[in-house]
């Protein structure tokens, strides 16, 4: 404690230079005076007494120095002195320093941006109390990939019997609800949770409390801080008041922190209601007594000190026990778990692969940037060899010189790191603005958190040390005799391949790799843009409502949608209005297994089919070709069910035979096929064509209502965006409290479906571009430097009769040899790495011929320019000036 205090005092002494020196001089003077007086009392002369006093003291100057060293931290002081010196020497070459800082800034910024994604999706623990002991549990079935949610009885059994956990909570992941009051009516999403949810997760409330264990059937709600701020104006008196969700009244008991979106950190929920009341908000919820429907996400709080291995063992035992007790449903189950808030098991693989690929790319980028800086530092070291030699001759140690150069590179890196953080602040904001195409709300916001800042700081310091190492070594070992004569002292005579040439070769090689990958992703975007999505996008306006959330019965919903279609159809400029549940390319929708009805024997084809609802005219409005049969028309809600299927469905289930009039069964219903339409992309642009079955909207609203609401599709020959306001007015004319959401033109909607190839192309495009610029700067720098070092030699050559053209060729040949070597090294590396990217490419092979042919040519062309400029400068050297200059 007291030692620390002393260090702090000395730190202050170092940093603020207290005027204590004078103070001590006076004290010392007093001491000497007292001692002199004593000597004089003993009979000595004043001079002799003072001389002896000084001897006893051990020399005034020595004492002063010892005292001063004790006042400050000497090592820190010399460090600061070096720092000041380094900063000054960097400031002497502002252009070089700026290029170095910007290079590192771009490299570090790219790394910071990607690390912020890693931090957000891999490292960030869930915003719960003690995240390390909260586990998310899943069911894994032997025959299937990971992972399934839980049926209620299984959750209840597990909660009762698993002793590794102090308690478990379950939640239903997403509930849509309408909310009104305080602005336009809005659709919001929430979760249905067991009442112990907030106790188990230990989420601290901003206001109020969570749920009591007896709350399961009581209409209470916890609101997210975000919803509370947006719609309730941060009203601190809201606890105990009622809010209306989908027409039902709920009492607010707590406000959950804004950081809580969902335990899985992907879904974006804004309210939580007890699971027991969820059926009021969601139709057709699985019954609590069924062991067949998997619908609940489960988290468990570990008992203190229970190791993970014990949890695995206990869950295995329980799985076997359940399998024996319920062979029909639990036979092939076993349980897996991970820390709550980790990436969902299903997405983990691709996300990790994508992040690793990006990490690799940004590390390569940093290597390119670092090579530039090392190169610059080398050039600096060369131009300072004389200064270094003088210092050495005057007695500076090599260690001290090394420290000076290292200090400079660390300083450069730290400045670069700061630049990088600024760049990535902007980049993460830009990335967060992209929205994934998904029918449910996702929270994918990324930002710069403390973890990322620490990482960036460490990265910058490491970079600085690594980059400065070689130049520091070289700078501290000048060939003294040469240096003092003013000749080359660091570039050793007789060494053919300099380190800088190696660096620049590596740079160009790496940037070839980056550019090839960039090329692949750009080609992928181009190829994605030419994918036939199966419907037209022009002149279409989309707008969604969900009357069910406002208390409409199925019949009322049907009638309301029909009335709305009629009203909108009457608007000027509208030539077609149809309705579906969810627009195509929304990222996913209902799907079910289908078979040809009547053939229930085993071995019969069974295909997973995406289900959509449609009203008459839907296919014509979207410009989808009707290939056989007829369109919907005249279906009654309780009449025989009809369906229109796409060609893929026919191919897969009927082997291409005419299916009109045939019956197919799936999801508990049998449908008569009345028509066939062309294929369309259902969930994502990149998917293989899926079988789709379109059902009559009026026949489906009652038994299988859409959780996502219903989407009005309006066709106009004009600009669909202009229609939005008048269509909204028609909705409000029927029901002023109706929440409208997902309002966009079909072109906007489809553009969002391309977000993945676009983001990938953008990221890699930016990285590839930066890499190219940095490598070009590097090549240019090395060539310019070589020319300036050889000014004298070139001057002699020209004096001896060399033509300017020959000189230019001499320089350019040197540069192009480096480039050629780099291309020869980089091309196979790019070829191998391209495989890694293959799973993210749309419609092109990873070894795309065009990319691998064009990129080296482009790179060589850029390199040619980078060499041509120094070459021209070499050719314009005036022999007389060159030889005279010393």
């Amino acid at each position: 404690m007291n030692k620390l205090r002393a260090i702090l005092k000395r730190l202050c002494g170092t940093l603020f230079r207290m005027p204590a020196g004078d103070d001590f001089d006076e004290e010392l003077e007093a001491h000497l005076a007292l001692d002199t007086e004593r000597g004089m009392r003993g009979g000595l002369t004043r001079e002799e007494a003072r001389r002896q006093a000084l001897m006893r003291l051990g020399g005034a100057e020595q004492v002063r120095n010892a005292y001063r060293e004790r006042q400050v931290l000497p090592w820190l002081e010399s460090l600061l002195r070096d720092l000041r010196y380094s900063a000054r020497s960097l400031a002497r070459h502002p252009a070089v320093t700026a290029v170095a800082v910007l290079s590192i800034g771009l490299g570090v910024g790219a790394n910071t941006t990607i690390f912020s994604m890693v931090s957000r999706f891999v490292l960030q623990p869930a915003p719960v109390g003690d995240p390390g002991t909260l586990l998310a549990l899943h069911i894994m079935q032997k025959s299937e990939h990971c992972c399934n949610p839980f049926p209620w009885p299984l959750f209840a059994d597990l909660r009762r019997q698993a002793h590794s956990f102090s308690d478990m909570a379950a939640y239903y992941e997403l509930i849509p609800a309408s909310i009104s009051g305080g602005g336009e009516p809005e659709r919001v999403w929430g979760q249905g949770v067991t009442p112990n949810f907030f106790r188990v997760t230990e989420v601290p409330m901003v206001l109020g409390s969570g749920f009591a264990d007896s709350d399961d059937r009581i209409p209470v709600v916890v609101l997210s801080e975000r919803l509370w701020r947006r719609r309730f104006n941060s009203d601190r008196g809201i606890i105990g008041k009622n809010v209306t969700l989908s027409g039902h009244s709920f009492t607010v008991t707590g406000i959950a922190p804004a950081a809580l979106h969902s335990i899985d950190q992907i879904l974006d929920a804004e309210f939580w209601v007890p699971l027991g009341l969820t059926p009021e908000l969601v139709p057709n919820l699985p019954p609590h007594d069924s062991r067949e429907y998997h619908w609940l996400a489960v988290v468990g709080r570990l008992r203190p000190g229970v190791p993970r291995a014990q949890v695995t063992a206990e869950l295995n035992v329980l799985a076997q026990r359940f399998a024996a007790a319920y062979p029909k449903t639990d036979q092939d189950n076993h349980f897996v778990f991970e820390q709550a808030g980790s990436l969902p098991p299903r997405e983990r693989g691709p996300v990790l692969l994508f992040l690793s690929a990006l990490s690799l790319v940004v590390v390569l980028l940093l290597v390119i940037a670092g090579a530039n800086v090392t190169s610059l530092l080398f050039a600096q070291a060369v131009s300072r060899q004389r200064e270094m030699s003088v210092r050495l001759a005057l007695g500076a140690t090599r260690g001290r010189l090394r420290r000076l150069v290292l200090m400079e590179s660390v300083l450069l890196s730290l400045a670069g790191g700061a630049t990088g953080v600024l760049l990535s602040l902007w980049a993460t904001q830009a990335l967060s603005a992209f929205h994934l195409p998904a029918p449910v709300p996702l929270d994918l916001h990324i930002g710069i958190d403390v973890r990322t800042l620490v990482y960036t700081f460490l990265l910058s310091v490491t970079c600085g040390l690594l980059l400065g190492l070689a130049p520091a070594w070289a700078a501290a070992r000048p060939v003294m005799t040469n240096a003092l004569k003013g000749e080359a002292a660091i570039v050793r005579i007789g060494r053919r391949i300099s380190l800088r040439s190696l660096l620049v070769t590596a740079q160009v090689a790496i940037s070839l790799v980056l550019l090839c990958i960039t090329g692949l992703f750009l080609r992928s975007l181009q190829s994605a843009a030419s994918i036939n999505i199966g419907f037209q996008t022009r002149g279409l306006l989309l707008l969604s409502i969900d009357p069910r959330l406002h208390g409409y019965t199925p019949a009322q919903t049907s009638a309301m949608l029909r009335q709305l279609r009629q009203r909108v159809a009457a608007l000027p400029g509208v030539d077609d209005v149809v309705c579906t549940d969810v627009a195509l390319l929304s990222g996913g929708n209902r799907s079910d297994g289908f078979t040809v009805s009547g053939h229930s024997s085993k071995g019969e084809p069974y295909i997973i089919t995406d289900l959509y609802m449609a009203t008459p005219g839907y296919f014509d409005a979207l410009g989808m070709p009707r290939l056989a049969g007829r369109d919907f028309g005249g279906e009654t809600p309780n009449g025989p069910r009809t369906a229109i299927v796409n060609r893929a469905f026919v191919d897969r289930l009927f082997g291409g035979a005419n299916p009109i009039g045939q019956h197919v069964a799936g999801g508990g219903w049998t449908y008569e096929i009345i028509g066939v339409v062309g294929n369309a992309k259902s969930r994502t642009v990149g998917e293989d064509t899926r079988p789709i079955l379109y059902r009559s909207l009026d026949q489906t609203v009652a038994d299988d209502p859409s959780l996502m609401g219903y989407t009005l599709v309006v066709h106009t020959p004009g600009n669909p965006g202009d229609l939005a306001d008048s269509v909204r007015r028609q909705v409000y004319a029927i029901d002023p409290a109706m929440a409208i959401y997902n309002q966009e033109t079909m072109q906007e909607h489809v553009r969002r479906a391309f977000v993945l190839p676009r983001v990938a192309a953008m990221l890699f495009g930016v990285f590839g571009g930066i890499g190219l610029v940095l490598a070009t700067v590097g090549l240019y720098g090395v060539m310019s430097f070589a020319v300036s070092r050889r000014t004298r030699e070139i001057g002699i050559r020209m004096a001896m009769g060399a033509q300017p053209g020959a000189v230019k060729r001499l320089v350019m040949r040197q540069g192009m040899m480096l480039t050629l070597a780099a291309l020869v090294l980089g091309w196979p590396a790019a070829w191998m790495l391209a495989k890694l990217a293959s799973s993210f490419l749309y419609g092109i092979a990873p070894h795309d011929t065009l990319t691998f042919a064009i990129v080296p040519i482009v790179l060589a062309a850029v390199a040619l320019i980078a060499c041509w400029i120094p070459g021209r400068r070499a050719a314009s050297i005036n022999p007389m000036d060159a030889l005279r200059a010393e």
Binding site: N2, A30, L34, L57, V63, A66
Partner: protein, 113 residues
């Protein structure tokens, strides 16, 4: 002169604290003289080493200083013990006694002591 002993590392601080405890506030020169006298002039104290030691103790908060007038009305800096210094003195003294006791056992073989 040959009989005098140099001050051992680390013991100077203890001597300073102890002297300040018995004598009350002292200036640097007075302290130096006092330490020499207490040692029966067996110690040869390099006065110069005293001041960094005093600064160290002050930085550690065991003593504090203020300017005052010396016996013959000279301005001098006076040092005095703080409460933390008293505690530290007791602790260091105890440790020192223990050390000497242990060493004494080695130097006086069993039976003789």
């Amino acid at each position: 002169m040959g009989d005098k002993t140099d001050v051992w590392q680390g013991t100077l601080a203890l001597m300073v604290l102890r002297t300040l405890e018995t004598m009350g506030p002292q200036h640097g020169y007075g302290l130096a003289r006092r330490i020499e006298q207490t040692s029966g002039d067996l110690l040869e104290l390099n006065y110069g080493t005293l001041y960094p030691a005093l600064l160290k103790l002050e930085q550690e908060g065991y003593i504090r200083s203020r300017w005052g007038a010396s016996e013959n009305n000279r301005r001098a800096k006076f040092y005095e013990l703080t409460r933390a210094g008293q505690k530290q003195l007791r602790k260091a003294a105890r440790e020192w006694e223990q050390t000497t006791e242990i060493l004494a056992r080695f130097l006086n073989p069993a039976g003789q002591g």
